[in-house]
């Protein structure tokens, strides 16, 4: 099972390749992805699809909220907890 750091690294890498298109753009782990325009409402769905495929997860509709996906930190915390529940 991937740990929080690995989840964060994979998420950062995906965001760089698919939304920032650059290695030099700043991307802080606590940066609001929607608030700073890194992703928009369709982009967040792309990101969620990536997370579901990459970590073999299914998110419930009620989990699809900004609290869970609006930053690299929030994503890695949420995905890690999902993976832990899944493994039980």
């Amino acid at each position: 099972m991937k740990n929080r750091q690995e989840i964060a690294a994979a998420t950062r890498d995906y965001i760089r390749k698919n939304f920032l298109y650059s290695d030099s753009q700043p991307l802080a782990d606590d940066q609001s992805l929607l608030g700073t325009g890194v992703v928009d409402s369709t982009g967040i769905l792309e990101l969620i699809t990536f997370l579901e495929e990459d970590f073999d997860l299914r998110f419930k509709d009620e989990e699809l909220v900004a609290d869970n996906f609006d930053s690299v930190d929030r994503i890695s915390t949420f995905v890690e907890s999902k993976l832990k529940n899944h493994a039980r």
Partner: protein, 142 residues
């Protein structure tokens, strides 16, 4: 104008001629053209040319690696899902913005019309340091 009710007078004039549903309809957002038509395999050749590394570097406005990553991703998304709902708004606007800037550069900077045939002579010279103004006898009425 009546507050934010657009075309207020036109709507009053049209009352009785146009259905009420149309007159009272709210303003709807509309954006055109969409990026999808430029990412289709049938898109005009100039689009591919203007997005090429060579053209991006020639214009020197955008980073060609980033443009390459954006166009590759967007083409793949359009090919996989089709339709204009598949691209995010941000990517959609980025593609249209890039293409517009590249077109402006191509037409008005790279290939700007040669002005050598038009002979311009300045007949009024204003020296901003001394404030002296010389007007030639053939000065235009400006």
């Amino acid at each position: 104008m009546a507050g934010l009710n657009e075309k207020h007078i036109l709507k009053r004039i049209a009352r009785g001629l146009v259905p009420e549903a149309v007159l009272s309809r709210k303003k709807q957002p509309y954006r055109s053209p969409d990026a999808v038509c430029f990412l289709d395999p049938d898109a005009p050749g100039y689009v591919q040319d203007l997005f090429s590394d060579a053209a991006i570097n020639r214009a020197g406005i955008f980073d060609s690696a980033a443009v390459g990553a954006l166009t590759t991703k967007c083409r793949a998304v359009v090919q996989m899902h089709g339709g204009d709902r598949s691209l995010s708004n941000t990517d959609n606007m980025a593609i249209v913005g890039l293409l517009s800037a590249q077109l402006v550069h191509e037409h008005f900077i790279s290939n700007r019309p040669q002005s050598s045939e038009v002979d311009i002579t300045f007949t009024t010279v204003i020296d901003r340091l001394t404030g002296r103004t010389d007007s030639g006898q053939e000065a235009m009425n400006t």
